[in-house]
Amino acid sequence: METFVFDGTLEGLLTAVFYCYQKKSGRVKIVSSAHFYPDVFQQHFEVVSEDDKARRVWAGLKTKLDKQWMLNFYKSFLSEQPPAFQHLVDFARYIIDNEPGAESNYGNPDVLAISQLSQKVHREKHRMEAFIRFQKTSDGIFYAHIEPDFNVLPLLIPHFKNRYADQKWIIYDLKRKYGLFYDLEKVDEIVFDFSEEMSPGLNALPAQLLDEKEELYTILWKDYFRNVNIPARRNMKLHIRHVPKRYWKYLSEKQSDAI
């Protein structure tokens, strides 16, 4: 079996699909350069990303798949998981080689994998929509940082842009070191260096950067969270299932009261 190495981008992956057809390859093994360890005994093909080849594959998929499935494809890609790349290439080829409608064959392992992976990514996107906690800075920007398992930032844009149309906001992914900034008009990707006083290790911004009323609202929110609990119904197992511990560090209501 041939091994294709690509650059880890969506363009690269789609270009790889293009070459499968151009080279009339059988089943290929796809690996991103970040996960690839050259093997002296094994030949491999280096895929160079090309926009027009990628676009042709994307357009080809679009003739067979509806919007929802195209989005599922993209979401699965954002999972950044090595097995996902293999499923995506195999899925794309399966769709291209078959009559329209093949995507509802849940008996096919790639169809099932894409539907399940995209579901996972979707779930985390949804959790970020829920668990992001903005803090208002002294210059009026609402700021939050996150470290999601999957690269969901691009999926968050429409939601936050629609919702917070009249306030400036920043959502920063500490793990992938980039963020989104909405300036009341459009959303841009941003990158910044964290200075000493804004160390990414902190769960919250330091007090001197915040709006003077920010502390009050954090306290009121914690008060609220405590007061709506019904001790007679306590069920920590359920609580943790809904709010997995790995997210607690973003959640102001789960921080200790040491403000």
């Binding site: 903005f134 069920n235 809904h242």
Partner: protein, 418 residues
């Protein structure tokens, strides 16, 4: 100032928490004015309490002063508790500031009745009107209807709220009369009927004229407290069913009673809320709304209470083995939905996937059905040869021994009251 607002929020959030509705979905209020918020599409649970309930709205009372004396309510007149009241501005400011920080999806506003129904309702309306018109807020607003409020005020409220609700409180009129002599189901039906009629009227007009404003776009709901009165599950489900049918409610909520007062008419303080029963009622409610079950099939004279040890779908299947096994490769969707262990999305996947070829055990497992439960009720391409006839008690035994019920550790200790 700081401390006073904290105290008020504490008192008025604490008093509102027994209302179990937390939904923030089903509306269609888009952010079209470049203002704040968007209530289109699915709701979001922003966090969960330690008891596992969703927190999606700022759920507060405007005040816990109340002229009524309902035995099951913390805010009842005769209860010796601290009283507080928010100003209109305070509620607006809290809502906006919580929303801007992404803590909540919107506001759930209820109130004790002070002075009279209209006086109270008028204040609730002032808050929602200010939020919508002055603050250009498009988030979700659930407004509690005050029993006895005038039709004009209800209509005005409906222009700003996404959902309105009024609680039935007890499943039966007789139960309600014992605990809240000043209330009646008739009084709940009046505003439910009026708002439903207005919803229909507005949507008819909307079909003709595009500019017709939204009126309670997420519909109406109600809540029934269970376990405070000796009603059977049959009475509860039939009441719910009648209200779904007659008032097109979006949801009926079931709230297991948590004793909050020393009243001889009610379970004593400290007794466990009937959590399993509550769970079973929600499952049964789901069967009626999404699985095509008729209420009579779930609870009836021969079977007036839901089983505690198994869910209502499994319970129905065990009582009706004549319909099983269902062949997943040929049966219609309606029947596949009735198989214990197969949910709506798996049933849809099965019906789609089998167009491509017969489904085997492996396919079914991967699609995500609860195979260990379902296998007793289905046939598939590689089903083992069936040697014995089905026997309900035997199947139930196997399923129970394989399952890890979340309730096994706390035994069913709901008190018998009467």
């Amino acid at each position: 100032m700081y401390e006073r607002i904290r105290e008020k929020l504490g008192i008025l959030a604490d008093a509102a928490k027994y209302d179990v509705s937390c939904s923030s979905s089903g509306s269609n209020r888009k952010n079209e004015n470049r203002g704040l918020g968007d209530a289109e599409g699915t709701g979001i649970c922003h966090t969960y309490t330690e008891d596992g309930r969703c927190v999606s709205l700022l759920k507060i009372l405007l005040t816990n002063h109340c002229i009524f004396d309902c035995a099951f309510c913390v805010s009842r007149r005769s209860n010796d508790i601290k009283r507080a009241a928010f100003t209109v501005e305070e509620v607006v400011e809290l809502t906006i500031n919580f929303y801007r920080r992404n803590y909540i999806e919107g506001l759930f506003l209820s109130s004790g009745i002070f002075k009279n129904a209209d006086y109270t309702m008028e204040r609730l309306v002032r808050i929602v009107k200010k939020l919508r018109t002055e603050e250009r807020f498009n988030g979700y607003i659930h407004l509690k209807t005050i029993p006895g409020a005038s039709e004009e005020l209800l209509k005005e409220a409906g222009m700003y709220a996404d959902r309105m609700s009024i609680n039935l409180e007890m499943p039966t009129e007789t139960g309600l009369k014992i605990l809240a002599p000043e209330k009646s189901h008739e009084e709940v039906k009046k505003p439910l009927g009026y708002i439903q009629q207005s919803i229909t009227q507005f949507s008819d007009e909307k079909a003709l004229i595009k500019s017709v404003p939204k009126f309670v776009p997420a519909g109406q709901s109600t809540q029934i407290v269970i376990g405070a009165t000796p009603d059977t599950d049959k009475e509860i489900m039939h009441t719910a069913n009648a209200f779904y049918k007659n008032f097109s409610l979006k949801r009926v909520y079931y709230s297991g009673y948590i004793p909050i007062s020393n009243d001889s008419r009610l379970p004593v303080i400290g007794s466990q809320p009937p959590l399993i029963r509550e769970n079973r009622l929600y499952q049964a409610d789901w069967l009626m709304r999404f699985y095509g079950f008729n209420v009579q099939e779930i609870v009836n004279d021969a079977h007036p209470n839901l089983d505690v040890d198994v869910d209502p779908k499994l319970s129905w299947a065990l009582r009706h083995l004549e319909h099983f096994p269902v062949d997943v490769n040929t049966a219609d969707y309606r029947m596949i939905l009735r198989v214990p262990g197969i949910g709506v999305s798996s049933a849809l996947k099965i019906v789609q996937a089998r167009k491509f070829g017969r489904l085997y055990k492996d396919h079914l497992k991967k699609i995500g059905i609860s195979f260990n439960k379902a296998r007793h009720f289905i046939r598939f391409a590689d089903s083992p040869v069936q040697l014995n006839d089905f026997e309900a008690g035997h199947i139930k035994g196997i399923i129970l021994s394989e399952s890890h019920s979340k309730y096994q550790k706390n035994p069913y200790n709901q008190l018998s009251l009467f």
